[in-house]
């Protein structure tokens, strides 16, 4: 059963990748010449069907994993991220069905692919639940929060498309920079995934002496550019080089700080290389490429899709990330609210999206300013899910 689950998961991942490629190919083809419109739209239809098959297969993967392990597959980072990726693709399929905007696929399907690839970075083995997680609130809280976040992801994609579409008419310099940074951050994420997955598949692992905070050694899964304090060059090798090249600065606190710093440096290196490569292909800033892709689209429709993603997602997110979270916190810890970093960041995201919803009814704020908030909202969600675990510790024992 767990073998079947892995096959279905891999099948879903392949389907999402193919779907994303088809959607991108569709846009590229349409840009070529009007005579390719029919073929291009055919690609879009196939892309939609492939994505839908992927969603079904992915759902099957989660159900079979559930049957095989006997516990709801939402108890570690891999399972959670996988579910989030499923939610993104599910809402993408639903909203594409409603609005029939295949171009959305070129922006949202890659987001789904990235989320699922990111899931694969984490250990995939089933771990039994620790006492704090043994509750039916776990699947209730996690699934509803993730579903809402999935809808927000679609809104993010549409908002970025809207901003790329309207920047030709008017854009402040900071908006140009911010748009480009969306692309850069995306390539950073891709860079991290490529590096982490590559060395995970290669089985790279080295234990380094650590005389800073923590116990004795730290196990690195990436070649140490920055080693812990107390490690010295030659403790590890990579491509014939003696690693670590440097040691982490002494002011860094936290048990795994040197390892996190090392991961960050790798991410920036790999992401920047990918970004530079893409820029060479695009022969210009990536936002220009993005703008060309959405040039023929109706900005009002994009704005509407972005709004609808949030309108659909907000009630679900409220239920999962605030209501269920508070009730569970009360049951497990005795307090419904403790300003734990994860709780605080869920509140920040929730406030941010409710701010967006209010902006929509204020004259002059409903267009580009609101779209920026919709785009930034997903960045906050990502930080809540990933950044809080990496940078701030808390009661949530989800951290990888």
């Amino acid at each position: 059963m767990s073998g079947l689950s892995s096959y279905l998961f891999f099948g879903a991942f392949a389907a999402y990748v193919i779907s994303a490629i088809l959607y991108v190919a569709r846009i590229t083809l349409r840009r070529r010449d009007q005579k390719f419109f029919a073929q291009a739209d055919r690609l879009g239809e196939i892309g939609f069907k492939v994505a839908a098959v992927g969603v079904v297969s992915h759902g099957g993967a989660m159900v079979t994993r559930w049957i095989a392990s006997g516990q709801v597959p939402m108890s570690n980072m891999f399972e959670y991220m996988s579910f989030l990726g499923w939610a993104v693709m599910l809402f993408f399929v639903i909203l594409s069905f409603w609005y029939k905007i295949p171009a959305l696929g070129a922006f949202v399907a890659p987001v789904g692919v990235i989320v699922i690839a990111y899931a694969s970075v984490f250990p995939t083995d089933v771990k039994p639940l620790v006492p704090a997680l043994q509750s039916y609130w776990l699947p209730l809280h996690v699934s509803t929060a993730a579903l809402g976040e999935g809808a927000f992801a679609v809104s993010f994609g549409a908002a970025v498309m809207y901003l790329l579409r309207v920047r030709k008419e008017h854009a402040e310099p900071w908006e140009e920079k911010a748009l480009e940074s969306f692309f850069y951050v995306t390539t950073l994420l891709i860079g991290f995934i490529v590096v982490a997955l590559g060395f995970k598949l290669g089985g790279y692992e080295v234990a380094l002496t650590n005389i800073g905070q923590g116990n004795g050694t730290i196990t690195y899964t990436l070649p140490p550019i920055f080693g812990p304090i107390g490690s010295s060059a030659g403790d590890a090798t990579f491509l014939g080089m003696n690693m670590p090249l440097l040691t982490a600065p002494t002011w860094m606190h936290g048990i795994d700080a040197p390892k996190k710093l090392n991961t960050l440096v790798w991410t920036i290196l790999a992401g920047t290389v990918i970004y530079g490569f893409l820029r060479l292909i695009a022969r210009g800033p990536l936002r220009e490429l993005g703008s060309r892709a959405v040039a023929g689209m109706n900005p009002k429709l994009l704005d509407e899709v972005s709004y609808r993603g949030i309108a659909v997602g907000f009630p679900i997110f409220t239920l999962g990330a605030i209501v269920f979270a508070m009730i569970w916190a009360k049951k497990a810890w005795g307090e419904y609210w403790q300003w734990d970093p994860k709780e605080t960041w869920a509140l920040i995201s929730w406030l941010f999206y409710s701010g967006y919803l209010h902006m929509r009814i204020v004259k002059g704020w409903e267009g580009r300013p609101a779209a920026w908030v919709a785009a930034l909202g997903w960045v906050l969600i990502l930080f809540t899910l990933v950044g809080v675990n990496l940078l701030i510790a808390g009661l949530h024992s989800y951290a990888a």
């Binding site: 349409r30 639903i94 409603w98 609005y99 029939k100 905007i101 295949p102 171009a103 771990k127 039994p128 620790v130 006492p131 704090a132 043994q134 509750s135 609130w137 023929g296 689209m297 109706n298 429709l301 704005d303 509407e304 709004y307 609808r308 309108a311 659909v312 907000f314 009630p315 409220t318 239920l319 605030i322 209501v323 009730i327 009360k330 049951k331 497990a332 810890w333 005795g334 307090e335 419904y336 609210w337 300003w339 970093p341 605080t344 960041w345 509140l347 920040i348 406030l351 941010f352 409710s354 701010g355 209010h358 902006m359 929509r360 009814i361 204020v362 004259k363 704020w365 409903e366 701030i392």
Partner: protein, 486 residues
């Protein structure tokens, strides 16, 4: 699923509908009221609170510190002398209880109340007391319209169709008004009322007696008074289990609630996610410790090495006297965590059983008495090896102490009610669309106007279907394909 959307213009229309008429002169009260009733002000407040909350999660908060330094000194060392002092003095280091953060929460609370009050009456009139016979020009100028030639008399055909679609239909003076999904209009206000309740529930903590939070340690078998109550808790046994991987599997306290006379009032296993609840007080499994608790001790004749007998020594609180085969062992002094003080005298460094040692007076059946030290963990260490009997440690056992959080919060039911109302409110807001139709007879034709507060596409589709059903000849079904870049 097709009812979940809105276009910005619908909301804007609502804004215009409910806007207060401008008064010529405004006093301070009016202006304050307008300030808090304003959507832009509320929006800005929401974003400021969000931004401030980010700050609080990035700056290390006082309640998470574990340091030997005074907090101010710690922050000076962590963030630099000036920055550390500024952060500490402005309350950035206890953000969520600082006066200005609470002021902002209070302001958003005021805004919620005033916005609700400000819009309640206009919305009540607009939604619950609609005008079924508005000016014909109003209907003729609605953006969504269709016309048809009725087969029978007047608007009867349309009324029947709308009733079948669960619309509330009012016919008056040969004209028609119909609407459904009124909850969708009330959704935002319901949400706001829920949020107000949550804030009220949280503020109730300030009232004496509403809230307390304590922590107690209860050793296996021990009876401890539950703080701020008139009952007692006994832990019969604390159980901790682990998976093969070493990860924890179960923390459980087998607990009994007793009254002052020792009568059992309730028996309940406290595990994580399943607190014990009794008379409004809840006990949560939140910690434990396991320490040496008992030892099986052998009394041995020194010369022959023959064992006289064994007894079980309670290391948490030894009994004053143990008897083994006619020998009496009197515990004269006991040190659970043996050490020497500055003057070189024996003392206990703590009350934890880390290195138990005791002074025992042993009386043999023939009436001789000897006094000697006995260190349970190091029985070979003796101060007086001339004594004819000695102790050996045969076995040592663990005693568990469970750590329980004791909480009472009478605000919780209010909070839960608020959460329920918020949940209903947000779903009503975004998943229920308020749709309304007006129809009037204009010569041989009927003019139908439609309006909705969200999801215009779905209203358009419904109107096309209605037009087609009422008059297929003049209203063929249009190609509904909604597209991009065609």
């Amino acid at each position: 699923m097709d009812e979940m959307s809105a276009a910005p213009r619908a909301a804007a229309e609502e804004e215009i509908q409910t806007a207060e008429p401008q008064k010529p002169t405004k006093d301070l009260l009016d202006r304050t009221w307008d300030f808090f009733a304003s959507v832009p002000v509320a929006t800005v407040l929401i974003f400021i609170i969000a931004a401030a909350s980010i700050g609080g999660s990035l700056i290390e908060q006082e309640n998470t510190l574990s340091t030997l330094q005074a907090p101010l000194e710690y922050y000076k060392a962590r963030y630099g002398s000036v920055m550390g002092t500024v952060l500490f003095r402005t309350g950035m280091t206890h953000m969520y209880s600082s006066w200005w953060y609470l002021t902002m929460l209070f302001m958003i609370g005021i805004s919620l109340v005033i916005c609700s009050l400000d819009r309640f009456v206009p919305l009540w009139t607009a939604v619950q007391k609609p005008n079924p016979t508005p000016d014909p020009g109003f209907v003729k100028h609605l953006r969504n319209r269709f016309e048809y030639r009725p087969e029978g008399q007047g608007v009867a055909g349309l009324a029947a169709l709308l009733k079948a679609k669960r619309y509330l239909v009012i016919e008056k003076d040969g004209r028609l008004y119909a609407d459904k999904g009124r909850w969708g209009r009330w959704g935002p206000y319901i949400t706001h009322i829920g949020l107000i309740l949550i804030l009220v529930g949280a503020m109730m903590r300030a009232i004496p007696g509403v809230y307390f939070s304590q922590f107690i340690w209860v050793r296996d078998g021990e009876i401890v008074k539950v703080p701020n109550t008139d009952f007692f808790i006994q832990s019969e046994k604390f159980v901790a289990e682990w998976y093969d991987s070493g990860a924890p599997k179960l923390y459980k306290t087998e607990a009994k609630i007793l009254d002052g006379e020792g009568n059992e009032l309730l028996r309940h296993d406290i595990v994580m996610n399943e607190p014990l609840s009794f008379r409004g007080v809840e006990l949560f499994q939140s910690s434990f410790k396991q320490e040496l608790g008992k030892a099986v001790v052998g009394l041995v004749e020194r010369e022959s090495g023959k064992e006289i007998g064994t007894f079980e020594l309670d290391l948490l609180q030894p009994k004053p006297l143990y008897e083994v085969n006619g020998y009496k062992i009197r515990v004269i002094d006991y040190f659970p965590d043996f050490g020497l003080d500055e003057a070189g005298k024996p003392t206990s460094k703590s009350s934890a059983v880390n290195n138990p040692g005791l002074v025992a007076e042993v009386s043999s059946p023939d009436g001789k008495t000897f006094t000697n030290w006995y260190f349970i963990m190091y029985p070979e260490m003796e101060f007086d090896p001339s004594v004819p009997v000695r102790f050996t440690t045969i076995d040592m056992g663990v005693a568990s102490t469970t750590g329980l959080s004791v909480k009472k919060d009478m605000g919780v039911p209010v909070i839960y009610l608020g959460l329920l109302i918020v949940s209903f409110g947000v779903f009503a807001t975004f998943y229920i669309a308020h749709r309304r139709y007006w129809a009037l007879v204009d010569g041989p034709r009927v003019i139908v106007g439609g309006w909705t507060n969200r999801n215009h596409g779905s209203l358009t589709t419904e109107m096309q279907q209605l037009a087609h059903q009422l008059d297929p000849k003049t209203n063929p079904i249009a190609d509904t394909l909604e597209g991009e870049e065609r």
